[in-house]
Symmetry: C2
Amino acid sequence: MKIALAQLNYHIGNFEQNTQKIIAAIESAQKAGAELVVFAELAICGYPPRDFLEFEDFIRLCEESLQEVAQSCRGIAAIVGGPSRNAKPEGKNLFNSAWFLADGQVKQVVNKSLLPNYDVFDEYRYFEPAFENRIVEYKGLKIALTICEDLWDLKDDPMYTRNPMDPLVEQGADLMINIAASPFDYDHAQARNQVLHRNMEHYQLPLIYINHIGAQTELIFDGGSVALDVAGKVVAQCPYFEEDLQLVETADLLTTTPERPDFVVPEKLSVIRQALVCGIRDYFKKLGFEKAILGLSGGIDSALTLALAVEALGKDNVRAVMLPSQFSSDHSVSDSEALVRNLGCPADLLPIQNVYEAFEATLAAPFKDTQFGLAEENIQARARGVLLMALSNKFGYILLNTSNKSEAAVGYGTLYGDMCGGLSVLGDVYKTEVFALCREINKDGEIIPENIITKPPSAELRPDQKDSDSLPEYEELDPILKLYIEHRKGPREIIALGHDAALVKRILRLVNLNEYKRFQTPPILRVSPKAFGMGRRMPIVGKYLS
Amino acid sequence: MKIALAQLNYHIGNFEQNTQKIIAAIESAQKAGAELVVFAELAICGYPPRDFLEFEDFIRLCEESLQEVAQSCRGIAAIVGGPSRNAKPEGKNLFNSAWFLADGQVKQVVNKSLLPNYDVFDEYRYFEPAFENRIVEYKGLKIALTICEDLWDLKDDPMYTRNPMDPLVEQGADLMINIAASPFDYDHAQARNQVLHRNMEHYQLPLIYINHIGAQTELIFDGGSVALDVAGKVVAQCPYFEEDLQLVETADLLTTTPERPDFVVPEKLSVIRQALVCGIRDYFKKLGFEKAILGLSGGIDSALTLALAVEALGKDNVRAVMLPSQFSSDHSVSDSEALVRNLGCPADLLPIQNVYEAFEATLAAPFKDTQFGLAEENIQARARGVLLMALSNKFGYILLNTSNKSEAAVGYGTLYGDMCGGLSVLGDVYKTEVFALCREINKDGEIIPENIITKPPSAELRPDQKDSDSLPEYEELDPILKLYIEHRKGPREIIALGHDAALVKRILRLVNLNEYKRFQTPPILRVSPKAFGMGRRMPIVGKYLS
């Protein structure tokens, strides 16, 4: 039997488009001779639908769309992810399900057993775990059909108290099919590879795995859909970040040959770049926007953001604005101009000195007898924010935020100033990684001028300011941040690893004190296993390490 | 036996202060002759600790603090909420527990069975449900000790698949004790009253219920701690929003007398006012701030916010700033001045015209040949934001946001302009409720000038602008918003209730399109059963009703 792997880019709540895409893929698969086509988890509504799932109206639209898809399954079957209702009074009212559609009908609904409820996942907010696990039989093939997390608990310290694969294997499964909505991070392909292979070794069954591609605000999906034979070798693998339809023969899955390749795990920097470009592109496309604007400071963060935005949206769709003040160095404009020339995008020069002086004059009475300080520095950053937002409002741009993760972590940024924007491109990329990504962008020729990469980072909000005046060097800062944020190590553990005790305490205190700023940050494209945003939920009024 | 009810205001992660408060209450209770004192859910660390629970270091501090509390339990026992570890490999690594402390030791740890994971609750993110339920025996008293949600599932459509009270009653319980962290909303006291009485009727047992008071950013806790006799009559009730220690005799709980009162459910407007004042006060106190600043527009939202802030922080600690533009009516300043006189707080007048003109001049080239519109309106709101933030940064104020829930819902506000602030006071109060609260504030004499209440609402960002130019009247808007937001009704259901179909679709579309703005809103004091913020999680790139 030929089975098709359908790796698609869905749009949350866009039932018309999702349904059309699914039906078109069923038709293509059928033309190619497939008897079964497999789509991703919650494909019908897009992932994550979040609290839309609490609306009866939204569930009705899911069901109607699934019925429409079922109508198109004649002579071919489809597995499509969507919510289903819990008919029993006890437990939550929905399941996260795989709908098995054939003969123009819903033939079977398989429910997810393990509901991830950590990091960016909130599935137990909406769904009841499956009450039972039964295999799907189709044309003599016994399918152990599971949903994403159902395969992820084979470990020494399991998060769940039961494993749905055990009863499915007892029922004599021939093949595992797992439909997923598993978001990208730079470690994810490796982790997924391990999880899939651990299941295959444990259960001695071939596996078809289908994931989403595309971005939904913060969450980026890389795909990685794959069919692995009984020895764990690749029979078919969809390309990362692209829609694709691949066909496999079940006979090929049940055997193996030595020449089949292993799973391809992509290179870290190149895949982060691809993910960020995908994240920008889909944010604009799915919101119905085409054009971005951003402020170019002459620094490395805004330079990298611009390069990625041009890659995502095209050079004519990204407008760069230089907003120098009296404290800006000459190279802040000349370096930006060189970058803009390299990229070929439209650019403006709007000096902020007049606006700054008007603020100073307006505040003369209340600021009388005070010294130039943080308030005056922030006025500059905020004046820039107002100008960029004015252009955004006037011409329908989305403003791109250019803050990096190191700054966001320690609060080195101005709320309503450089922290403005509809989307944060680099908010999950540490400063040291920003440098590495610039090198990646430049690997085939200079796009980001060398001087932007090599000059000492500065906010240029007062004379001769440098980031290193108030922060440790990024090479020292970032590893401590990573231990605290990604690895959730406390101060004792980080100090025990050899970091300076006073510095560790100071940095952790800064991170926690600045929770109030991050609360108002734009959505951040998630590329690490622990990004600021929906996956990291911290109290503001807390008094822990702060 | 005398049992003490300890209703306290904890601070998340402030172990030193929480531990001292708990030990001081144990000492007071012991002096008053109590043999058992009961504290709230997760009292040791404050509620909600959120992702602090993912730090081994944080759990260690919880355990050390509980050991310290145990040391003070000699001749008296205490029930204290805190996390505990799951010793089994399977399941999540923590429980949400009630620690039973006596004889200087931990005697028993009782784990929560039902983990709320809806609205503002994320407990299944951190905790494993109890594997078993066992009563606590102490001096011959058999206690059915449960934790908050454990009592909330007695209904026709239960959210959970088992009820922990059933096995506890089978073990011969004499008394229910429920320790809670149950946040306030204007319906909550009524709902809690019903839940407690339903349990008492079902299990025929007296009940002691202990809750938190005080605010933790968005979440406000009203207390409502109570001891109810076997007939559901009140033996002792702690006052709302106040720390308190009450003593009851178990003999009094096991009997009833006709003269005992019923549970007191407070009046809606007065309790919303108390909650908002508590929310402001605790946000400042727990962050270590004393002084607030806000912009006074002459409108009703900023007037009410100022009155509440003065009530919370004292008149000398709230600075009001009037920021008129060329479009401001004369009464915008004169009404604000009258309000400031009534309240006696410091005030400034900072006209924004010069700043606005500087922006206009700076944007002259890119804005050439365009019409005055939204961009220019927003510049005014943002200029005000910059001035308020400058004063905030210079003098250490927290800026209070004055947006109401109706505006926040439909996106009638300027991001980085009037949407600035450290805390949104009225973001969960619809405009029609804002009017009612002003009447409440004025009930013993005019504080908010009558003209502020009666004039037509206007943003005053262009000549003769009124809210009703672009929005329906609030009397028409708010009920539709409430059906959609609080009651999660879809368009069909709302239209079926008699609302105009085109209007409903327009409003729901506005709500969903403006998710991107609310993403960057300050934290909102939650007073309704469904507030914007942590309890309402919506996609930004979604295409549902939008």
